[in-house]
C-alpha cells in the first residue's frame, strides 16, 4: 500500500479541506448578510456539499480506486470504502440542509453557526470513515460528538432540546472515556496505534502467550462502548430517544442516519482490519458478544417503540432497532455481512430521511409530532401520506420496497454463517416492528380526519424533494449496481 507524507497527502485530502473552507465561508457570510430571513447561508452550505461531492468523486476516481492510499503517515486511508461513506454522508448532510431550510422550528438568529456546525460534523464523519490510527479514531469520534451536542441543543427556547443536549453530553463523556481507556489498553499491549499493526501484533502476542485473551476481550469491550454509543446499541442507547425527541427534526434525521453510518464505518474498519484476523478471532471470541448485543438492540428498540405516541420518538426507537439489524452484519465480519451493512445503510438513508422529511412537513403543518397529527392525512394530503406509507413499509422490510432487499441481504449473510437463532430473532423483530409502523399508517389511512378535512397543499419543491427519497426506496432493490458497489468497497478493506 502506498503511504504518503504530510505534504503529499494534502492533495488527496481536498474534500476535507474544502469542507473546512466552506464552514469558514459560511460563518463569514453570516456576518455579512444582514437580512435574518435570508437563506443565503443555507444555499452556500449546499453549494459546499456539491463541491465536496465533486472533490470526493475526483479524488476517488483519480487516486482512490487504484487501491488504498495511506495518508498523513498512516493516520487515515483513502480507499473505496471511505469514498462510499463520504458519498453517503454528503447525501445525508445535503438532505439535512434542505430539511432545515423547510423546517419552521429553527431559530433564524443562529443560522450561520448551525450550518457551519453541520459542515464541521460532516468533516468529523469523513474522518471517522477513513481513520486507521487509534488516535485519529478518537479525535474524529470526538469531533462528531462535540458538534452533535451543540446541534442537539440548538432549540434554545425549548427546554427539551437543552435536556437532550445535556443527556447527550453526559452519556457521550462516559462513553468516550471508556473507549479511550480501551484504546490505551490496546496501545499498551501492541505498542502501535496503527490498526493494521494491531491485528498483526496481537495475533503474535496471543500465540506466544504474552497477552491473555481476556485482556484483549476487555479492551474490545471498552472500545465497543464508544462505538456502541455512536450507533446507539444496547446498553449504550439510553441517550438516543431523549436526544432524538428533543433535537430539531432535521438534526434528529441527521443523527439517526449520518451518525449511525459513520459509526458503522468506524466499527467495520476498526474491527474488520484490527480484529477480523481468523486466528485472532479463534483466540478471542468477541463476535458472540456482538451477536447478543445485536439481538438485544433490535428487541429493545422495537419493544420500546410499540407504545410511543410521538412519531419522532417512535422513529428514534426504530432507528435503535435498525442499528441492531445492521449489527447482525457486523457479527459475521464476512464480506457478505459487510456488503449487506453497506447496502442496508444506503437503503436506510433514503427511507429513514424520507420518513423524517414527512415528520418535518407535518410538524410545520400541525405544530405537532404526535401520531394524532397524522390522522386522516390520506384525505388531506394523499401524496405525502402514500410516501410516508412507503417509507414505513420499507422500514418494516416488506417487498417490493428497498428495505426488504436490505434485510434480505443481512439475513442471508447471517444464515450463511449458521447464526439461525440471530436471524430468527431479527425476523420476528420485523414482525413486531410492523405493528408500530402500521399505527402511523393506520392513523393516516384508516382513521377519519375528524372535522378538519381541509386539503393541505405543499409546494412543488416539497414533492420534488419527497420523490428524491421515494423513488430510490421503491427502486434500489431492483438495481444491480448497488449490490456491485457494496461488494467492491468491501474488497478494499485491508484484512491485516
Amino acid at each position: 500500500m502506498q503511504s504518503l507524507s504530510n505534504i503529499e497527502s494534502l492533495l488527496y485530502f481536498s474534500p476535507e479541506i474544502l469542507l473546512v473552507i466552506f464552514a469558514a465561508a459560511v460563518v463569514l457570510l453570516d456576518l455579512v448578510v444582514k437580512d435574518r430571513n435570508s437563506s443565503a447561508v443555507a444555499h452556500l452550505s449546499l453549494a459546499g456539499c456539491i463541491c465536496v461531492f465533486a472533490a470526493v468523486l475526483i479524488t476517488h476516481f483519480s487516486f482512490g480506486d487504484k487501491g488504498p492510499i495511506s495518508l498523513f503517515l498512516g493516520m487515515i486511508q483513502l480507499d473505496a470504502f471511505s469514498s462510499f461513506f463520504k458519498v453517503l454522508l454528503l447525501l445525508a448532510t445535503a438532505a439535512t440542509i434542505l430539511f432545515s431550510l423547510r423546517s419552521e422550528e429553527l431559530d433564524a438568529r443562529l443560522k450561520g453557526e448551525y450550518y457551519a456546525l453541520l459542515l464541521a460534523i460532516t468533516l468529523g464523519m469523513f474522518l471517522m470513515a477513513s481513520s486507521t490510527n487509534l488516535l485519529m479514531i478518537f479525535i474524529s469520534l470526538e469531533t462528531v460528538s462535540l458538534t452533535s451536542y451543540i446541534l442537539a441543543g440548538f432549540l434554545t427556547h425549548n427546554p427539551r432540546s437543552s435536556e437532550a443536549a445535556f443527556k447527550y453530553i453526559t452519556y457521550g463523556a462516559v462513553a468516550s472515556g471508556t473507549m479511550l481507556f480501551g484504546l490505551s489498553l490496546l496501545f499498551g499491549m501492541v505498542g502501535s496505534g496503527d490498526v493494521g499493526q494491531i491485528s498483526v501484533r496481537l495475533t503474535e502476542l496471543l500465540a506466544s502467550g504474552e497477552v491473555a485473551p481476556l485482556a484483549v476481550l476487555i479492551a474490545i469491550t471498552f472500545v465497543l462502548a464508544g462505538v456502541g454509543y455512536k450507533i446507539a446499541s444496547v446498553p449504550f442507547h439510553m441517550w438516543s430517544p431523549d436526544v432524538y425527541e428533543g433535537a430539531p427534526i432535521p438534526i434528529t434525521a441527521f443523527l439517526s442516519v449520518a451518525s449511525k453510518s459513520a459509526g458503522f464505518a468506524l466499527f467495520i474498519r476498526f474491527f474488520y482490519s484490527g480484529f477480523g484476523n481468523p486466528e485472532l478471532m479463534q483466540a478471542v471470541d468477541w463476535t458472540f458478544m456482538l451477536a447478543i448485543v445485536s439481538a438485544l438492540t433490535m428487541t429493545v428498540g422495537n419493544l420500546a417503540a410499540l407504545p410511543q405516541q410521538n412519531v419522532k420518538r417512535l422513529l428514534a426507537y426504530s432507528s435503535i432497532a435498525h442499528g441492531g439489524y445492521l449489527l447482525m452484519g457486523g457479527v459475521l465480519l464476512t464480506s457478505e455481512g459487510i456488503g449487506a451493512i453497506l447496502f442496508y445503510l444506503v437503503v436506510y438513508l433514503f427511507m429513514n430521511l424520507g420518513a423524517f422529511y414527512v415528520v418535518v412537513l407535518i410538524a410545520n403543518e400541525e405544530g405537532s409530532e404526535m401520531i394524532e397529527g397524522y390522522r386522516g392525512l390520506a384525505s388531506r394530503a394523499p401524496l405525502v401520506a402514500w410516501a410516508m406509507a412507503i417509507f414505513l413499509f420499507s422500514l418494516t422490510g416488506i417487498p417490493p420496497f428497498a428495505g426488504f432487499f436490505g434485510k434480505w441481504l443481512l439475513f442471508a449473510a447471517v444464515l450463511e454463517q449458521g447464526y439461525y437463532w440471530l436471524a430468527l430473532v431479527g425476523l420476528l423483530n420485523s414482525v413486531v416492528s410492523l405493528y408500530y409502523y402500521a399505527r402511523i399508517v393506520k392513523a393516516m389511512f384508516l382513521e377519519d380526519p375528524g372535522e378538519e378535512t381541509t386539503q393541505v397543499s405543499f409546494s412543488t419543491g416539497t414533492f420534488a424533494l419527497l420523490s428524491v427519497f421515494v423513488i430510490p426506496t421503491i427502486l434500489i432493490g431492483f438495481l444491480n449496481i448497488f449490490y456491485t458497489f457494496s461488494n467492491i468497497s468491501v474488497s478494499v478493506i485491508p484484512m491485516q
Binding site: P399, P400, F404, A412, S430, V431, E447, N480, Y483
Partner: protein
C-alpha cells in the same frame, strides 16, 4: 411474453388509474374493468392453447434479475398454475363489477390497490423463481391491508392489522427457510433460487438439499408460512375477522384466491421440493406421520362445527371456507393420484363456490344492512331469483353430487382413504355438519314466514346477476364434466407423484 403481459397489465392499469382525475369515478371504474378484462382474455387464451399432453412448464420466460444472487425473473405455467391463473383472472372483473356501487369513498385508490393486488396474485401463480415467488407473495399483503383497513366494516382496523401480522409472521419463517434452501443449493456462486432446478437438486442423492433433517426444518418453515394463508388450524383466527370486516369484493378475493395461494405454495414448494420432509409428515412413524392428515381433519371438522355455531351469515361462510380447505390438506397428505387431483380440483372449485357465497352475502347485506341469519325469514317469496342462486351455491358447497364441490371432496376423501382410513372416515362428519349448517341457514333465511321488515326488499339486480352467472355456470359444468379441469393438470399431477416416489 403473453404471460408477462398478463401479470403486468393490472400494474399498468394501476398507473393509468392513478393518473385519472379523482372526480371521474365512472371512468376510473371502466378503466379498471378494462384492465381486469385483458388478463381474463389472456388467461382464457393460455387456458386454450396450453398443451395438456405434457407436464413441462410452458410459456417460460427466464431472464436474469439480480445477478449478484443468481435471482431470475423466471415465470412459466404448468397445469396447476394455469388453472389458478384462470380463476384469478376470472374473479378480477367480477370483483370490479361487484364493487361498482358499494364503494362509497376513495374509489380511485380502491381500484388502484385492487389492480396491484391482482398483479401480485397473478405473478405468484406464475413465478418459478423462489425469490420472485416470495416477492409476489408479499406483494399481495400491502393492498390487502389497505383494502380491508380503509373500506372494511366497523372493526376494520383490528381485522386489517391482524391479517397483516399473522401473514407477515408466517412469511418471515418462510423467508428463513427460503434463504436456507438457497444457501444449501450449491457452492457460493453456484447457488440458485430456480424452483425447477431446486426440485431436481433436492431429489439428487447426496446433495445437501436431499437430507431428511434439513428437509423437515425447511418444510416446517414454508409450511407455517403457507398454513397461515390457507389457513390451517391453529393459524386460522385471522380469517373470520378479516372476512367479516372486508368489503364484499375483497372477501371474494380473500376466499377465492388468497387462500389458494397457501395451498398452491404447499404443492409447488413443500411437496415438490421437499419430498423427504413431506414423507416424514405423511408417511413417517407415529404421530408425525399422520400430522398433515390430522391437520386436514381438524380443519374440516373444526371449521364445520364453528360454522354451525355462527349467526352472522358472512362468518358462517368464512368458517365453512376453513372446513373446505381442510379437504385440500387431507387430499394432499394422501400423496396419490386421486388425493392430489381432488385437492387441486377442490382449490379451484372452492374458489368459485366461496366467491359465489360471498357475493351472495354481499347482495343481501347491501339491501338489509345486516347479516344476522336469524333476522331474516321467508325471503324466498320476495327474492325468488336470489333464493335460487343461493340454493345452487349452498348445494354446491355442501357437496351435492352433480355440482362441482362434490367431485373435489369425493376425490380427496377417496385418495386419503387409502392412507388414513380412520381420519378419512371421521372427516366425513364435516360433510354432514356442512349439510346441516347450509340447510339450516337456507331454512332460516329463505323459508318460513316473511319478516314484515323486509316487505320492500328489492330483488337481485342485473349487475349482481352478471357477477354470479359465470361462477354458477362453472359450478354446474365442473360438476357434470370435471375432466374439463382435470385434463389441464393430469400430467402435472402424474409428474408430481413421480417426484414424490423417488424415495
Amino acid at each position: 411474453m403473453l404471460l408477462s403481459l398478463m401479470i403486468f397489465v393490472p400494474l399498468l392499469g394501476m398507473i393509468a388509474v392513478l393518473l385519472l382525475p379523482r372526480e371521474s369515478e365512472e371512468l376510473v371504474k371502466r378503466v379498471t374493468l378494462l384492465f381486469t378484462l385483458i388478463p381474463l382474455a389472456l388467461a382464457v387464451a393460455l387456458f386454450i392453447s396450453y398443451d395438456r399432453s405434457t407436464a413441462g412448464t410452458q410459456y417460460v420466460v427466464n431472464v436474469p434479475w439480480i445477478q449478484a444472487f443468481n435471482i431470475q425473473y423466471h415465470i412459466g405455467i404448468d397445469g396447476l398454475s394455469v388453472t389458478l391463473l384462470l380463476l384469478t383472472a376470472l374473479l378480477g372483473p367480477i370483483c370490479v363489477i361487484a364493487s361498482w356501487r358499494n364503494i362509497e369513498k376513495g374509489i380511485k385508490a380502491y381500484m388502484a390497490l385492487f389492480l396491484l393486488l391482482e398483479t401480485g396474485m397473478l405473478g405468484f401463480f406464475a413465478a418459478l423463481d423462489l425469490f420472485l415467488f416470495y416477492v409476489f407473495f408479499e406483494l399481495t399483503l400491502l393492498p390487502m391491508y389497505f383494502l380491508i383497513g380503509i373500506w372494511g366494516g366497523p372493526r376494520r382496523e383490528y381485522a386489517a392489522i391482524k391479517f397483516f401480522l399473522y401473514t407477515l409472521f408466517g412469511s418471515v419463517l418462510m423467508l428463513v427457510a427460503m434463504i436456507a434452501v438457497y444457501l444449501n443449493s450449491g457452492a457460493p456462486g453456484a447457488r440458485t433460487f430456480d424452483i425447477p432446478t431446486l426440485i431436481t437438486l433436492a431429489a439428487t442423492a447426496g446433495h445437501a438439499l436431499n437430507d431428511l433433517n434439513f428437509q423437515i426444518w425447511v418444510f416446517l418453515g414454508f409450511f407455517i408460512g403457507f398454513a397461515v394463508k390457507v389457513p390451517i388450524f391453529p393459524f386460522h383466527t385471522w380469517l373470520p375477522d378479516a372476512h367479516v370486516e372486508a368489503p364484499t369484493a375483497i372477501s371474494v378475493i380473500l376466499a377465492g384466491i388468497l387462500l389458494k395461494m397457501g395451498t398452491y405454495g404447499l404443492v409447488r414448494v413443500n411437496m415438490a421440493m421437499f419430498p423427504l420432509g413431506l414423507d416424514f409428515f405423511c408417511n413417517g412413524i407415529g404421530f408425525w406421520g399422520n400430522s398433515l392428515a390430522l391437520l386436514g381433519f381438524i380443519n374440516i371438522v373444526y371449521g364445520s362445527f364453528c360454522a354451525l355455531a355462527q349467526t352472522d351469515f358472512k362468518k358462517l361462510v368464512a368458517y365453512s371456507s376453513i372446513g373446505h380447505m381442510g379437504f385440500v390438506i387431507l387430499g394432499l397428505s394422501a400423496r396419490n393420484d386421486s388425493g392430489i387431483t381432488g385437492a387441486i380440483l377442490q382449490m379451484f372449485n372452492h374458489g368459485v363456490i366461496s366467491a359465489m357465497l360471498f357475493l351472495l352475502v354481499g347482495v343481501l347485506y347491501d339491501r338489509a344492512h345486516h347479516r344476522e341469519i336469524n333476522g331474516f325469514g321467508g325471503l324466498g317469496t320476495k327474492m325468488p331469483i336470489y333464493t335460487g342462486i343461493t340454493t345452487l351455491a349452498f348445494m354446491a358447497s355442501l357437496g351435492l353430487p352433480g355440482l362441482s364441490g362434490f367431485v373435489g371432496e369425493a376425490l380427496s376423501l377417496l385418495g386419503a382413504y387409502d392412507k388414513f382410513k380412520l381420519l378419512t372416515i371421521l372427516s366425513t362428519i364435516g360433510i354432514v355438519v356442512g349439510a346441516a349448517y347450509f340447510l339450516w341457514t337456507l331454512q332460516r333465511v329463505f323459508l318460513g314466514t316473511l319478516n314484515p321488515k323486509y316487505e320492500e326488499l328489492p330483488e337481485i339486480n342485473g349487475r349482481e346477476i352478471l357477477t354470479l352467472v359465470p361462477l354458477g355456470i362453472l359450478t354446474i359444468a365442473l360438476g357434470v364434466w370435471p375432466n374439463f379441469a382435470i385434463d389441464m393438470f393430469r400430467e402435472s399431477v402424474t409428474n408430481l407423484i413421480g417426484v414424490l416416489q423417488i424415495n
